[in-house]
């Protein structure tokens, strides 16, 4: 812990610089305690408030599916607020037939809402201190949320309205989502969430495809598997779909063990 003496500086700009440097090296709480101590020894005056911008890092993360398509997102780690956000900028392109711009926008919002309902705040990363600091430092819990935002130069998704319908699919270069299936029936929301399993997580499919003979097939109600056979109500993302995020976040918590838990 730094000596309170270092806080006895003459001009506010220098004080701010010193406090900022101390916060980075010693941490917020230690600096606040030091300032409180200095303040207690001062004559009466206004309280000293220590504040700084959140400790936020943004990292580009990528996963490659078993088809060889690579998907990239931004991982935003806010250590101050203990949050993790996966961000994907999307360039939505209107395709096919839409009755109006409002219909197109409603479809896009519906597809995003479907994705959020399966992805957002379903898991958290728990980082537990190890070694001599284990009894001193607290365990840190970081919920994982998602932001799918409109971005003109982002990942392109063509939203196809009306007939003919088709099969929604994603590739590294962009994706296609359809309002209607090839047989003319209305596509179900879980399909859009499944597609964002590729675009936002880089998760591989887990159902049989004769063009991908080595695929790992699952039967545990994964949203990336055949949910028509296993049950749509039970379908969900699994911890394995978030493992790469744990690996990335753990790099920022040296001295901790980080693991994924349901929220």
């Amino acid at each position: 812990m730094p000596s309170p003496d270092v806080l006895r500086v003459a001009d506010p700009a220098t004080a701010s610089s010193v406090i900022d440097r101390l916060q980075r090296t010693a941490g917020n709480r230690a600096v606040q305690r030091a300032v409180d101590g200095a303040h207690a020894r001062r004559p009466a005056g206004p309280p000293v408030v220590v504040s700084r911008a959140d400790d936020v890092t943004t990292t580009s993360i990528s996963e490659t599916t078993d088809t060889g398509n690579k998907y990239t997102q931004d991982l935003v780690l806010n250590k101050t607020k203990a949050t993790i956000q996966v961000q994907l900028g999307i360039n939505w392109v209107k395709s096919g037939t839409w009755a109006s711009d409002a219909d197109f926008k409603a479809f896009v919002q519906g597809a995003k809402n479907a994705a959020y309902s399966y992805l957002d705040n379903k898991f958290k990363i728990v980082c537990t201190p190890m070694g001599p600091m284990a009894s001193i430092l607290p365990t840190i819990e970081l919920p994982i949320s998602f932001v799918l935002y409109d971005f003109a130069t982002g990942y392109t998704i063509r939203a196809h309205g009306g007939a003919p319908g088709g099969g929604s699919a994603m590739t590294q270069a962009g994706g296609d989502v359809y309002e209607q299936r090839a047989d003319g029936s209305k596509e179900v929301p879980i399909t859009y969430a499944h597609e964002f399993g590729h675009a936002a997580l880089g998760a591989s499919d887990e159902y049989a495809n004769p063009a991908v003979p080595g695929r790992v097939l699952t039967n545990d109600h994964s949203i990336m598997a055949n949910y028509y056979q296993q049950g749509i109500p039970q379908a969900e993302f699994k911890a394995r779909h978030f493992q790469h995020i744990v690996t990335e976040v753990a790099k920022a918590f040296a001295g901790y063990t980080c693991s994924l838990r349901p929220r």
């Binding site: 090839a182 047989d183 597609e195 159902y207 004769p210």
Partner: protein
């Protein structure tokens, strides 16, 4: 251009999520067809002999798409994209072909072949003979 007498075909379009459409035709004209819905549910099958007219339509579609020399898809298949797997035999020539749905749609002769096969599957499943 074949008349269909020396043509054999094995066609399979789809995957477990999209469901499958299949057609198998022997040089004798004996054919088996199937179709399933999403999740590979509600599978229907049919078998029978293609009429001479149906065999000629199929042969014309195979010839039009030049399946024996078709390059197939060279890019990685998309996630959830539907594959079309075809084995065609014409006399002593044989070709195994893999075309992804996106490439098929952008290739009019292959798309016409694909449409013809699916029409024949419909006809077999509905017991139709458009001779």
């Amino acid at each position: 251009m074949t008349t269909g007498a020396d043509l054999a075909l094995a066609y399979r379009r789809g995957h477990d999520m999209a469901g499958y459409t299949t057609l198998s035709v022997q040089t004798t004209g004996a054919a088996e067809a199937s179709r399933s819905g999403v999740g590979d549910l509600d599978r229907r099958t049919a078998s029978g002999m293609l009429s001479p007219a149906q065999r000629e339509r199929l042969a014309a579609a195979v010839s039009g798409a030049d399946l024996l020399h078709h390059p197939g898809s060279s890019r990685p298949i998309g996630d959830d994209e539907v594959p079309i797997l075809v084995t065609v035999t014409l006399g002593s020539d044989r070709r195994d072909l893999r075309v992804w749905a996106g490439d098929a749609a952008a290739d009019p002769p292959f798309a016409a072949f694909d449409a013809t096969v699916r029409e024949l599957v419909d006809e077999l499943l509905h017991g139709l003979d458009r001779a």
